[in-house]
Symmetry: C2
Subunit: 264 residues, 2 copies
């Protein structure tokens, strides 16, 4: 199946997809468009779900909740941001950055003391800096190169081990379940019930399962009402745990999956 | 104490601050600048911490972790976004929006089918649309009015009951603790220990305390390592719970606080 991801060329999503396939890659203008194409089975999707510095990618989590898709694999990409500009850092009057890149390079951008202008993608940041003399961009090496913008300072992100976790999403659930890896669940408790999260975690504990991530998101029903995204390591107790959790709350099983392999 | 918040004039933070005081309000260009001024005891801060549709405000949560500040109150603001432009919606070629406003109006902006350009604030969105003929903005009534931009469509956010929760932050902990309200904690488990979150929630359960929110954030140490933001309702068992939780993990007590009252 062809892969689709957030474009334009030069985004981290594109870099991740290129590391996974030599085939054609479909590039979409928004995350929602990626999910729509996957739902229509036009391609599988590669979407960023969390970053080790900036945290969860909210729009992706909301699409995972709404769209009838399944997670079929995960992959990790080291993320390095560069400062690119036609002039040195002390001569720029503004800097372009995607909101996530801005978060991940906050210490660098605050040190510059110039306004930060948000863009749609790392590629757009580089293109804007090229077309607006006296400005700079937080961007990737590929995007800077494509925009003809020199790198003035490499590796300007807050943390050295900055990593983004990507998911492969598909319209269909694989026919076989892996014996190792992770299972991702969305748990919707409905109305707020004190102690319910403790009860839910108790189920996984009793079944000998380790949670690798728990993330709350607004249910969108009312302020203070949440749904929970839970990643759990696959183990023998998982089917029993899913049954028990299903008796406490609504559960969406997003899929059982392992690490994706890069192209050979 | 004077209040400070994210500017420029016309932001939701400014609107929230104006609902709380008739005194002068300091406006800062970034969330980090608000926290810095509060740390230096130049003012108290009013900062958005979560929205009922778009979820947690990551940069605010990261500043709460790093900065030596205390939460001294909370307040809620209904959030209504409008579509403002000099021309009707079907004639625009691009739309300006702050990333959080974009998230909260995703259904509307996707229906337009034009590129969305991110900005630093709702006020900047309105100003950009005014200075670029043929474009529009997702913005507030105040910001549209200040930019001289007519409202073409009111209330374009995804959910009707869109609400943002704000915190008041101060350099000093109040001398007395309220008997009702909430307590906000940051719990840092250090290395990943399976089952620790379940143990932590068990403490609150045994002490008869209700959690109103749990939010994980990256620890920034490594991918897959998290800290937890927990809001708990104040009750007689809270001091005992804090002691027990402190034996399991590092705990930062951000403060015990109630609802802020609007100006009379």
């Amino acid at each position: 199946m062809i892969l689709g991801c957030l474009g334009p060329e030069g985004t981290f999503s594109h870099e991740m997809a290129r590391a996974l396939t030599d085939d054609e890659i479909f590039l979409f203008p928004t995350i929602t468009d990626v999910f729509r194409a996957v739902t229509e089975a036009k391609c599988d999707g590669i979407v960023p779900v969390e970053n080790s510095d900036a945290g969860a990618v909210g729009p992706v989590m909301d699409c995972l909740f709404r769209a009838p898709v399944f997670i079929t694999g995960e992959a990790y990409l080291p993320v390095v941001h560069h400062f690119a500009a036609a002039v040195p850092a002390d001569q720029i009057t503004a800097i372009y950055a995607h909101p996530q890149a801005h978060d991940q390079c906050l210490r660098f951008t605050e040190g510059l003391g110039v306004p930060v202008i948000h863009t749609e993608s790392n590629s757009a940041s580089a293109a804007m800096a090229t077309s607006h003399p006296g400005t700079g961009a937080i961007t990737t090496e590929t995007a800077a190169c494509m925009a003809g913008l020199p790198l003035q300072q490499r590796s300007v992100q807050n943390t050295r081990d900055n990593t983004t976790r990507f998911l492969r999403i598909s319209a269909h659930r694989p026919e076989t379940r892996p014996m190792t890896g992770k299972c991702s669940l969305i748990i919707d408790p409905g109305a707020d019930r004190p102690g319910l999260l403790y009860e839910l975690l108790g189920v996984f504990d009793r079944c000998g399962l380790n949670l690798t991530r728990i993330e709350s998101r607004p249910s969108k029903r009312a302020m203070g009402n949440y749904i929970f995204f839970i990643d759990v390591e696959i183990g023998p107790g998982l089917p029993e745990a899913l049954e028990a959790v299903g008796e406490l709350a609504l559960v969406k099983d997003l899929g059982w999956y392992g690490r994706l392999e890069g192209k050979k």
